[in-house]
């Protein structure tokens, strides 16, 4: 019973973090919406949230990394390749964003030489990120739908089910 409760809360945390990442990504994709300073600080926070996301999926990450060159399911391999691309893309977005920072880093007294390539790469990787995010969400669509049903549409179980669970416990 305790294990089941733990597992559920883990899914809930995953869903919450993923939802935050998704919304922040959409908001950060348009700096005009927030202004450049919020865009930059939000993106830095976004980087930290991605680390949390990776830590939450560490077991899958480690297990698949070990087995990637051996025989594994096509979907898992596809997922791994896509996630690797996504990680590279996100790293590039955040790094190039820092290199062309106009508010966050200058406020800390750090300034880089303006570089046309970083600007271009920031824009290119951000655009690419939308497509990779689409594929990432698509590959986990069933999980997204189930979690959405469980935590958004029916966040509280019916009293009868709650009573049944209490009796079982």
């Amino acid at each position: 019973m305790q294990l089941a409760r733990k597992k559920t809360s883990r899914t809930k945390i995953n869903f919450l973090i993923d939802l935050i990442i998704f919304i922040v990504f959409l908001v950060a994709m348009d700096p005009r919406l927030t202004g450049i300073a919020i865009h930059e600080w939000l993106s830095i926070a976004f980087g930290a949230t991605i680390i949390v996301h990776l830590l939450l999926h560490w077991q899958w990450l480690a297990a698949t990394t070990k087995r990637i060159f051996s025989k594994i399911a096509t979907q898992a391999r596809l997922n791994y390749i896509l996630n690797t691309l996504f990680f590279i893309d996100m790293t590039l977005i955040i790094f190039t964003g820092l290199m062309i920072s106009e508010a966050a880093l200058p406020s800390l007294g750090i300034r880089f030489q303006p570089n046309f390539f970083w600007r271009w790469l920031h824009s290119f990787s951000a655009d690419l990120g939308v497509y990779i995010l689409g594929l990432h969400v698509a590959l986990h669509w069933k999980w997204v739908v189930n979690a959405f049903k469980r935590y958004v549409l029916r966040p509280f179980p019916f009293p009868a089910i709650r009573l049944q669970k209490k009796v079982q416990a």
Binding site: R32, G35, I36, F95, I100, F116, F117, L121, G134
Partner: protein, 129 residues
């Protein structure tokens, strides 16, 4: 301790990506990749006066076209990084956000449809067998 180790691994991998990107910028290939094949002083230094981006780049970046005219339509409010005044919660910002959401939605729809069709075909084959 385990978590710190994992964070360090993630940061190390990110550092490899950053290092590769940084090394790539130093090569001539980076300049050739830019829209219009520009590089040289643009890759290394700043922008020439009055000119910010070449064609092919995201229009949100542009602060004016090459005739010195202000940007038109959606981007009339200024460049992508022109939110110094604190952001413009306008219709076009939400339109852009909706466009990204729509792109993601279309991708999800296509992939889910492909998945559904392939699983239906597999089921049919299994029944036929």
């Amino acid at each position: 301790m385990k978590i710190i180790g994992r964070i360090l691994i993630i940061l190390a991998v990110a550092l490899i990506v950053v290092g590769a990107a940084y090394a790539f910028v130093q090569t001539d290939m980076a300049a050739q990749l830019l829209p219009g094949g520009r590089g040289g002083e643009f890759a290394e230094g700043g922008f020439p006066e009055g000119e910010h981006l070449d064609r092919g780049a995201r229009p949100e970046f542009q602060e004016g076209n090459f005739n010195g005219q202000p940007p038109q339509g959606e981007f009339m409010r200024g460049g992508r990084h022109d939110g110094r005044s604190g952001g413009t919660l306008g219709f076009f910002s939400f339109l852009s956000m909706g466009r990204h959401l729509l792109t993601i939605g279309v991708i999800v729809l296509v992939v889910v449809m492909i998945d559904w069709l392939s699983s239906r075909r597999k089921r049919r084959v299994r029944i036929a067998e």
